[in-house]
Structures are given as C-alpha cells and as structure tokens.
Amino acid sequence: MSQVDFPILSLLTFLPLVGVAVILSVRGEDAVVASNARWAALWTSMIIFLISLLLWVKFDQSNPGFQFIETAEWLPQVGLTYKMGVDGISVLFVMLSTALVPICILASWESITVRVREYMIAFLVLETMMVGMFSALDFMVFYIFFEGVLIPMYLIIGIWGGPRRVYAALKFFLYTLAGSLLMLIALLAMWDKAGTTDIVTLMHTTFSPQVQTWLFLAFFASFAVKVPMWPLHTWLPDAHVEAPTGGSVILAGVLLKMGAYGFLRFSVPMLPDASAKFAPFIYALSIVAVIYTALVALAQTDMKKLIAYSSVAHMGVVTIGIFTFNAQGISGALFQMLSHGVVAGSLFLCVGVVYDRIHTREIARYGGLADRMPAYALAFMLFMMASVGLPGTAGFAGEFLVLVGAFKVSFWLALLGSAGMILGAIYMLYLYRRIIFGSITRADLRGILDLSPREIAIFAPLAVVTLWMGVYPSSFTNFFEASVAAMVEHHQAALAVTSKLAGVIR
C-alpha cells in the first residue's frame, strides 16, 4: 500500500519532539536561549513542512482507502495497535497543521518575549499531537493525541495569554475534557464489542441501532464541544480572546477542525443509523449557530471576539455539510474546513499585526489604517473577502458545495444556511470599514508602521493559498473526492441494510 518505504507519518509526528530535545539542550544567557529556541523551532517546523510536501506528491488521489499505512505492535494482548495512515479526508489536514505551525512560530517571533523557550516547546509538542491525531488509524492512538492537545494549548493560553487567561485556559480545558471523557466511554464500549480499536475494522463493524444512539451521543459530547457547535461554543470566544496570536491561529486553524474531523471519521461511517437519525438535530443546532452567532458577531467590540464568533458560524456550515450525507455536502464541508483553517488563521494574524503595534483589540480604537498601512489593508481585505465567501477566494467553493448538498436535503436548510453568509458579509464588511477606512483620529495611529518583511513573509503564502483555493479548487478537492464517494456509498449501503432488516423483522 505504502508508496514510500520509510514511516513518513510517524516521522512527521515525532520529529517535533526532536526539536524539543534540541531546544531543551540549549544553555546560556536568556537572550541567546530565546533566539536559539526561535530558530530551532522554526527550522524544525520548516523541515517537517517540507517532509509533509512528500504526502502531497506521493498521495494516490484515485485510492479511496488509507495510504502510507504503518503498524507497530503496542499492546497485542488486548487488541491495541499503533497504526498510522491517511486517506483523502485526513491528508490535507496533516498538511494544514504542518503548514500553520511555522507560520505561527514566525508570527510569535517578536510578540512573545517572556519564556520563549517554553513557548516554542509547547508549540512543537502541539504539532506532534495535531499531526498524530490526524494520522492515527487506531482509535486509542487517536484518543491519546486528541486529548494530548489539551496540555500544550492550556499552557499556551494560560502563560502567554491576555488578562483573563487563567479563566479562559481552565474553561477551555474542562469543557473539552468533559466532552472527550464521554467519548472515552464510547471508545471503551466499541473496544469491548469489537475487541479492537482499529479504525478500519470499526468502520466495518455493525452496531445495533440502540447502541449506535448512545455511542453517537457520547461522540457528540466530545466533537460538538470541539467544533464548537451552539450552545457548547462559549469556551471559544474566551479562549480566542485571551490566547496569544499564534495560539489563536492554531485554535481556529486546526483545533476546531478536530471536532468536525471526528464527526467525519467516527460518527458518520461507524454509526450510520444514528447519524441519519440525529441529522435533523444537527441541522437545527447548526442553523442556530450560523444565524445566532453571526448576529452576536455583529455586536462585538473586540476584533478577536468577532472573528471567534464568525468561526462558530463557519463551522456551523461545516456540520450542515457533513450531515447531508451526499458527496457535495461532505466535500463542501471538507473544503470549508480547509479554507476556514487558512482564512480564519490569517484573520487572527491580521488582528495580531495591529495588536502588536497598538496593544488593543478594541475596534473603536482603530480607523483609517488604509492611509498608513496600504499593504496591511490589502492583505486584510483579501482574507476578509475570503471569509465572506467571495467567488475567486478560498471561502466560496466550500460554502457553495455545502449549499448544493443542503439543497438536495431540504430547501429550507439551504435557505437558512445561506442566511449566515449574508450576515457574514455584513459583519465582516462592517469590521473592515471601521478599522481600515475613515480618517485617522487617534494620535498613536499616525505613526503606525506598515507590514514588516517578516510579516509579509507570513502573509504572502497564506494569500497565495487563499487565491489558489478560490481559483482552482479542484487541486484540493481531487484529494478527497474518491474517499468522500466511498464514504457516501458506505453510508447508503449501511442504511439500506438496516431498512431491509427492519422490513424482515416487521
């Protein structure tokens, strides 16, 4: 199956820890240590990103199954194996994670001044956990990485965050932990039933509809918190506002995707009946999320909070797409997840740029930045438009596909789902107007500097990807087309079996 001989996914997963070891071994003056830690972290994450490009090149797009599979004995007596592999659904998320980490490290170059070494270590550990989670092919391995993400993120928010960081960090941790622990019970129940936690085997294990209902609810507790779906989203604005810029980027870019990925990887393929049964419930929550959080976003006075609420709305579109169970909807959801990862991450970086200069995120404190920061205004505009879903930018294709998928399910679902996009345009344009246009009224804004070369180096690749995803989406959709088609087929076959069984019993 595997096209390359060496274990590329394990390498990607554990190479960051080598970087951690290097950083830990640095001794000397604080300034020297800080500088060395920055460079070591940047080099490590760049090398990892370059290696992950191999996945892009070698991935067989026509194969719907898992590729780059690695297995190692771990606990053979109880049916636990260390197993890694990616399919079309996960491969791009692995790359998203490896791409965002160097950008985050670069974005934190100057804004993190205290305990730089620990910060870089936390980021590299976080990278290990994220990549491991997306490549895990064993539920237990997945769970370990899924939970392991909490520890570095808790520290990143709690140590380098804003004034209410302790509250935000604890809220983030406990919300997600409580959800994941219920998933642990579901994991144990599946392990008990199937005797293994191998994801591929579990996908082909049938659970009775009643068991499926309970398992679905347990999964839902975990993934809905992580997505986050309304009304479990309240940890997100707090965490985003208090986290340092790099933390916000990873949170929006990758961590929110973990929940939706969980739905795609576990809930839908393993529990088809329960997923179908709960789909209306998910639609309802998603529509509330799309409309309600968009309205909440409109009322925000803090830039980061506004973008955080917009993330909840965008993820609402993703959950609608996943639970349409058709190829367009799921592909759209995947594309929307990827584009949101890039775009929301970029928007948080945009906020970080002005925050580093003026040290406030109050929207009212800004205005007229176009005059002093033309390059910044351009970058911000691009990402803002992508977030709105303007055709030709990354945000369009995903939302469009999801709506096409939703139309197949119900007209009202599509209509209400698209309401979020209109509201999205309103709050984003309103935000942009208040920050960039107008005349400069504050004295400290007169001397504000435009993007530095380092910041341009951060934004340039993100802008390129945003446009690329908008202009030529099929270079991304090609990756997951086969896997999504197989998944839809599997789902329909499973439902057909159940209805046939129901007919027999009746």
Binding site: E73, W74, L75, P76, Q77, V78, R115, E118, M140, Y143, I144, F145, E147, G148, L150, I151, Y154, L155, G158, I159, R165, V166, A169, L170, F173, L174, L177, A178, L181, L182, L184, I185, L188, A189, W191, D192
Partner: protein
Amino acid sequence: MMNWTIAIPEIVLSCLGMVILIIGVLHKKSNAFHLCSMLTIGAAIITMLLVVAGSSGVGYSGLFVEDSFAVFSKLVILLGSLLGVIVSLDYNTEENLQRFEFPVLMLYATVGMMIMVSSTNMMSLYMGVELMSLAIYVLAAFARDDLRSSEAGLKYFVLGALASGLLLYGISLIYGFSGTMSFDRLASELTSLGNTSPGLIVGIVFLVTGLAFKISAVPFHMWTPDVYEGAPTPVTSFMATAPKVAAIVLFVRVMITPFGHLLAQWQQLIVLISLASMILSAFSSIGQSNIKRLMAYSSIGHVGYILVGLAAGTEIGVRGVLIYLVSYVFTISGMFACIIGMRRRGRSVEKIADLGGLSKTDPGMAASLSIFLFSTAGIPPFAGFLGKYFIFGAAVNAGLWTLAVIGILTSAVSAFYYLRIVKVMYFDQQEAPFDARPPALTLVAGISAAFTTLFIIFPAPIVAAASSAAKVIFG
C-alpha cells in the same frame, strides 16, 4: 507438607530487619539512621530478587500462597517501600527524625504487606494486616514532639484498631457460619447463595467494612485527611503507596477467591463504596489549600477508581486494578518527592499557594509535578490514563454503565483541582524559591516522571504480567 521455602523472601526480609536493628543499636556513632536506611534499601532489593526467583505453590498447611498474583503485588509493594525509604533520607535528617528505627519499621510494615498479599486464610490475612498496621501506627506518630504528628498517630491507631476489630468480628462470623477460615474451602462451599446463611453475609459485610477502613474508602475515610496531613511527609508518602497497594490487593483476593460465587451479593456494596469515594473525593478536594490534605482526598478518589475494577468482578477488572496500581505507585511516589522538596529556609511548607511561580524558580520540579498531576487526572499520554482506561474498560465490559459514566464525570471534576495546581505553578506570581533539592528526591521524582511519561510507549510487559496475575486468582 510444609513447603516452607515459598516464604523465603519474607523470612529473609524479617531476618535482615533484625540484623539491621542490631546494627543500629550497636552502632558506635551517635546516628545510625543513614546506614540503616541504606541497609534497608539493600534488603528490599535482595527481597525483590528473591521474589522474582522464588518458586510458586501453597505452603504452611494452606495458610500461605505464592502465585503470580502475589509476586506481581509484592514487587509493586517493595518498589513503593523502596521509594518511601529513599524520600525519607533527607527529610528525616532535616527534621531531626533520624532514628534508625524508622527504616526498620518500614521494613516490617513491608513484611506485613507481603504476608497480606500471600494469605489464603483469614488467619494469615489478619496477621499480615496487624503487622503492617502496628508498624505504621508508630511511623505516623514518629515526630513525637510535633503535636500534629502525635495526633495523627493516635487517630490512626484508634480508628485502625476499630477497623481491625470489625475485621476480626467479620472473620469470626464467617468462621462460625461456615466452619472454615481457608479461602479454598470457603470457595468450594459457597458455590451458590443457597448454601450460605445470613450470618455469613453479615460476616462478609463486616470484613468489607474493615478492609474499606484500611484502604480509606468512603464512608470509612474519615481518618485519612487528618492522618495524611499530620504524619511526617515521608510517612504519608509511604502510607499512600505500599500499604494501600497491599490492602487493595488483599481486598481483591479475599473477595474473588472465597466469595467469588457470591459476586451478585457483594457487587452492590463495592459499587456503592466506589461511587461514594469517587464523588466525595472529587468535590471535597476542590476546597483544599493544603497539598497533603489534597493528596489524602485524591487518594480516596483513586481507591474509588480502583474499586471499579473490583466491582466488575472479572479477570479484566482485576487486570485493570493491577495496572492502575503500578501507575499509581509511581505517580504518587513522584508527587510526594516533589511535596517533600517544598522547603523554604529549612522548614517545609505545605500550602498549594507556596508553589506559586515554581515553573520559573525550578522548572524541572514544576514540569515533573505537572506530569504527575496530569497523570492522576487521567490525561493521556501519561501512565494514569492507561490505568483508568483498563479500569473503565472492565466496567464497560461488565455492563456497569452507571459506574463508568459517573467515574468519568468525577474524573473531569477532579481534573479541575489538579489543573489548579498546574495553574499556580505556571500562571501565578512567583514566590520565593525553595531550598536546593536533595539529590535523592530528584532521583525519585525523575524515575517516576520518566516512568509516567514512557509507560504509554512500552506498556506491553506490565500489561502481560498483570494479565497472567489476574488469571491466577480466577484459577
């Protein structure tokens, strides 16, 4: 057939204890504490080797058994005692407790524990429990000039004596109504509820009560916070590890071997104790400001989780208990090594707030203490997670859903107060640095942290050993 050789580890350890005692008395210099501690460590290591090399079988007319279940438990117990002696070395010197009886008492407590886990008869069970308890009563009151320590010793003694009384009363009822004290004979007679009498059931209840006292399960936990807080910290560390392991292992054997067929009768009891322990621990730990008291409540919670495995009453459950105990001993020993290291200007401090900003003043200690805290909270990838995984897996397997769900929810609650300590160390204002850590504590904390972190990578040997140990008692 006497088959006396199977008890060689216990015999050798007892003899070495006497030799160490004589050396301590005859030692010309004023203080033999350090020498005796070192000899005790040596004796423990020799005993471990003997345990590994020893043969298995039943001896002493069915009073004593050496099987892989006992061997596994003895190794964990000896390890716990070993770490206990090591962490006491510097503390006792600093606090002027450097009397040579200290390690010898630990040694005899360990002999008692080894007898406990090997007992196959109510009589040897009781002897083991008493030998362990008497030694620990003295240890708890070891700082005899300190009011809190004396109080702790007295409290522990009075309540412990009460528990022993209950235990003995239970044993006498069981004997009276069944005519035997041997586990095997009890097992063959009590094959169904039909041939048990209500008196025997009452006896089992008393037995459970007495043992619940020893493992400090709710509602028999009252002594724990006071004793943990008052006793000298190395003694607390010792009490939280080895004796707890011994009592739990004994509990498992006594419930499974003779009364295994009556599972339906005692399962309810264990489920209730377990639920109460988990819930009480999770909610009463929140308000604690003294770290030793917090550890007491936390240990009550651990007992609750471990009893989930016993409540399952299956081989998988017992395997879970054994795996949990291994991770528990390492995590708790490491945590106490850090707590013993909390000293400012030659005096130990015990408030959680004293850890403020530790990540700046002593990053190594802060990192390892965080590892232990995350591990006890059951967060992967640390050892505590695997323990919980196997325990709750057994509960799910046995269909104990209530227990599994409530256990999971209480562990989310308990994560709150463990995280609070991490918060104090990493996010809070910096306090004055602690005194330089003695190398012994660094060693224990380092070994424990390494084990806690790396267990997830190499769990197979321990899981395999636990599996075969669990298989034995289900015969």
